[in-house]
Each structure stands twice: as structure tokens, then as C-alpha cells.
Amino acid sequence: MSNNPMLSLRNFSVSFDTARGPLYAVRNIDIDVADGESLGIVGESGSGKTVLSRGAMGLLPKRAAHRSGTVIYDDHDLSQTPRKELREYWGTGMAMIFQDPMTALNPVRKIGAQLTEGLRIRLQMSKTDANARGIELLNRVRIPDPAAVMEKYPFQLSGGMRQRVMIAIALACKPRLLFADEPTTALDVTVQAQVMQLLSELRHEMGMSMVIVTHDLGVVAGHTDRIAVMYAGEVVEIAPTKQLFANMKMPYTEALMKSIPRLDSPSGQRLPVISGRLPDPTQPETGCSFASRCPYVTDKCREATPPLVEATPGHSYRCWFPIGGSR
């Protein structure tokens, strides 16, 4: 093990060719993920969370997507690695839990075949061993009657069961770095708690690093060391989890927190929303990307783009007029 981070993104950007010109989905990201660290990524729908994770793994559609910047994984520069060789890292090195299980699973193959494939090819397990391990994995993600489920097709499972199958597949080869894209969205709270517990255990057992993309701030609060907040393709704030909740600086982060529905709020009330919408990702603009929706906006915000600065150790944000002052 080196002292270098497990994953290091520098000036990482992704754009897509679209009919309306290039779409800048992820812009100039600098992020490190340490050995055994759990980093949460939160942000509005469409802000680039999935593209960032897929991009880091090299799992974007080849034709329409352009990556730039560097991706260093375990001291290898993956931005220079051809896709063919990247495959070697998938499964045992880096693995991903995809956001939409129905599209990620093969609809015409049995769960068992999909789950044991990696074990047999990457870990050269025998069929019987792979099968036994597959059942054990399904058991660990709390799927009832795992032996029967091995024989089923994806459409025969409930949404949450498919999501847990995805998780089992991602964990099968004991990856060192796991990207979990909305891993628990389809799960009820009791199963969610068990699955998150399982991910934490694996992190401690195997020193696995984890990047959790989620909109569930309850999940990030309990299961991450640091949180990066994304807005319009950029990281707008990043801080240790406790620090972020206690002392958020970005007006966007504040707005996001305010819109969490909570069990202790009264029923039947309108929920607070952030009015307006994300800027058009095909039209790069000057100034702060949150300016059109920010309650604290001034002329300066519209004219000059605030840089990401580390105001206190480990806590960086992108705002001219942070909450609570100072910068």
C-alpha cells in the first residue's frame, strides 16, 4: 500500500456531442479518495454525479463522450489506458453499482449466471464454488430464498431485489474501490440499513474505498467520511461530513439541506424547493453557476466565476459570499 490516494482525479472533465453542440456534463474536477475512505457525492438531478463516476471508471459511451484531465487509480494513469486494458481493473480493482438496475442487468440471463460470471472469469472459481459464493452474497444483501433467486430472471424480481443483485455483483470480486451510484434508492429503510451496514463492514474488513452517489442525506450523514456537493458539473463544496453539516458555506448546499423532508416535520405541507433550474449545460456561462437561483446573489457573482478555494483545512467551496462570512 502506498501513501498516495486510491483514486485521484485532476482537472477531470467530460463532455458529450449533442445535436445542440457540446454538453459540458462534468467540469474540472479535482478529487482524491484515500485508502478505505468513504466519499459521498450529493447534488441535484442532472448535476453530473453519474457521469463523473462512470467517467472515472472509463465506462462512458465511446463515441459521444470526451474525457480530459487525469484519473490516477492506485498509481496507474487510467486516462491514458486503452479501454481493452481498463477491463482488467473492473471487478477486482474498481467496481460499480449502477443507478438503474433494470438496464444494467441482462434481461435474458438468469441471476445466478450474471452473479457468478466475474467469480469464474476473474477469480477462476469452479462452478460449484462460484455458485456457493453467489448464494452467500445474495444472503448477505438480505435476499430471501437465495438459491431460488439464482434461477430467476431479472423481471421476476422486485425493484429492490434487482438493486441488491447489482450490489452483490459489484461486491463479488471484492473490489478495492467501489462506486455506488444511488445504491439504496429502491430499498426500504430496514433493508437499506442492512445494506449500508454491509458496505461499511466490507470497507473495514478489506480496506475498500467507496464513492457513494446519493440524494439521501440521511445515508451520507451516517456512512461517509467526506462529502462533495456537485452543482452544474462542478464540485461546489467539499468537506468532512460533520463539518459540512455543521458549517456549510455554499448557499446551494444550504438550499439542498432545507429541502429534505423529515419525519418530524408536519404532514400535508408543501415542501420547500429551490426555485428555478440547472443552467443549460451546453451554454458555458460566466459567473457563479448558481447565480440565477441564489438568494444572496450580487453583481459580482454574475460577472466573475468564484474559484474553489480551501478556506479551512479540508473544507473547500466555490462562493464569493459564503454563509457565515469569510473567505
Partner: protein, 329 residues
Amino acid sequence: MAGSGKAHLRNNENVILRVEDLTMEFPAGRKKVVRAVSGISFDIERGETLAIVGESGCGKSTLGKAILQLPKPTSGSVNFQGQELTTLNKDALRDVRPAMQMIFQDPVSSLDPRLTVAKIVDEPLKIWERGDELWRSKKVDELLNAVGLDPALVRDRRSYEFSGGQCQRISIARSLALEPLLLICDEPVSALDVSVQAQILNLLQDMKERYGLTLIFISHDLAVVKAVSTRIMVMYLGKVCEISAPDELYSRPRHHYTHALVYSVPIPDPNVAARRTTLEGEPPSPTDPPSGCRFRTRCPAATDLCAQEEPQLHEVSAGHYVACHFPRN
């Protein structure tokens, strides 16, 4: 009758949907069946929002689809606006369809990748021959705006170019196109971040007020459910455990499963240690559910009676029904 009781059914002219003893089973090979939904009864009044919550795999999506006859349930009755749906033939069923819409659980895979967003939203309008082309085009813009998408930016793009949450909004716009009377939303906001989630939930509220929409809202997010619903039905392994108004259900869950559910909600505060779930034991197999109360294998209060006799829904306080031999206080 191996149902879960009907004490909670109401009998008045506001009831728009009444489901009785609904059962849905799937073959599971070797003469076994998956008992996904087992004798469920409930009703819903016009303008109500009934939330259905429960463990992953307990039969929520199956129930939602069975109401729409997708496919026809194994047995039981579904009465929509005075019409029995389970005995309707294909053509008659087709005529009721526009009034009942469903937002399916997997947003990305339920959208046709070959069609542009405008076409996807327009499709139901076109099939049902609503308005002329110009009117429809305006309607599509109105719907896209309503779900927080800018028509000018999204009309001509295809679904694979969108994020998970954006796809979810497209499918919501589509399901509202025909201005249904009853909308079944299967996890409509679970792929959305909180701010968009709030927008959609408020939008659904608006639609309720504007069109008198009635909602069935399937969700595992109890905080979301609390914010939007007028009544909550808790399910466990194909059965109803408890039905109540939201405030009462959360402040005083009576069924032991509901209690476990309410107390596993993660708190958005890093200083509160992540709660370990209070629900112990293995989830039982739906092909071989426990006798008596299906929750008994994981219930801290289970006795012999629970294994022998299935508890029936009964009223414990006004409008609050529970199916348990030994409800909590």
C-alpha cells in the same frame, strides 16, 4: 377466509377504487407459487393520497400493476368507479385505461430510447387522439414545464442522454398527459435528489387540486410519504399490517413491523450515529410464507397464537386499523 380483514373498508359515494381479497401469484417451478399479494382489501376516496409502504419484495409493485390488470390478478375484485375490472374484456378495459395511469418503478428502462422526449410525452395523446398537432405540441411543452424540464432544451433529445432523475420526470410528464383520475406512482421520487423530489411532490399536489386527481403512492421513503399522503397502508409479505393517517401512524405505530420500519429511518445528521436496524432475522420466502401472522418469525412479541391464527385487521382507534393479535401501545 384467509384475508386480512375488511373492517377498514368504507362505504360511501366518494370511494373511487375498491379492492377486495386481491391475490396475485406467480408460478415458481416445481408446483410452487410465489405469493406476491395475498388477499388484500382496501379502498380509496376521490382526492385522497393513499401511500403504500413496506419491505422490498413485499408485493407493492405487483399490487399496483394488478389494479391496472397488468396482468389480471389470480383472484379477487377491483372495482373502479363502480365498474368491476377483473371481468372486463380487452376492449372495455382499454376504454378505462386513460383514467388510470401508472408511473413505473424503473424510469430509464420504461422509456423508449428510440423516441425523442417530445414523442414520448406526446404518444398517449396521439394514441387517444386528443386535440390537433398544434394543441398537442403546446400540451407537451406545458407538461415538460410542469415537471421542471425546459422544453426548448429537452424536446428533441432521447432518453439515454438524460440522468436518472431527468428520466423520472419525463415519465411523470407522460403519465399526466391524459389527465387521469387515478395515478399509481411506483417509487416516483426515489431516484430524485431532495430539491427535485420536492418539486415533483408539490406538482402532484397541484395536479390533485387542479384535476381532482387521486393518488396511490408507493414508496419506501417514510418522510416523503408523510409529507404527501392522507392515509398510509403498511404491507408485509403480501399482506396488510396496518392502515392509518400519517401523523398517528408515525407517532404511534401499533404493528410491530411498522414500529421497526419507523425506527430505521436514517437521520440526516452525522452526530446521530447511524441507527442499526431494529428488524432482526431473515426475511421469509414468499413461496413458503409463515403460518398465521406472516411477521411472526421476526416479531419480538410473537406467541403460539401468532403461528396458529392469522390476525385480522381491526380498529384500534378512530380510522386506525391493525392486523396483530398483540398490538403495541
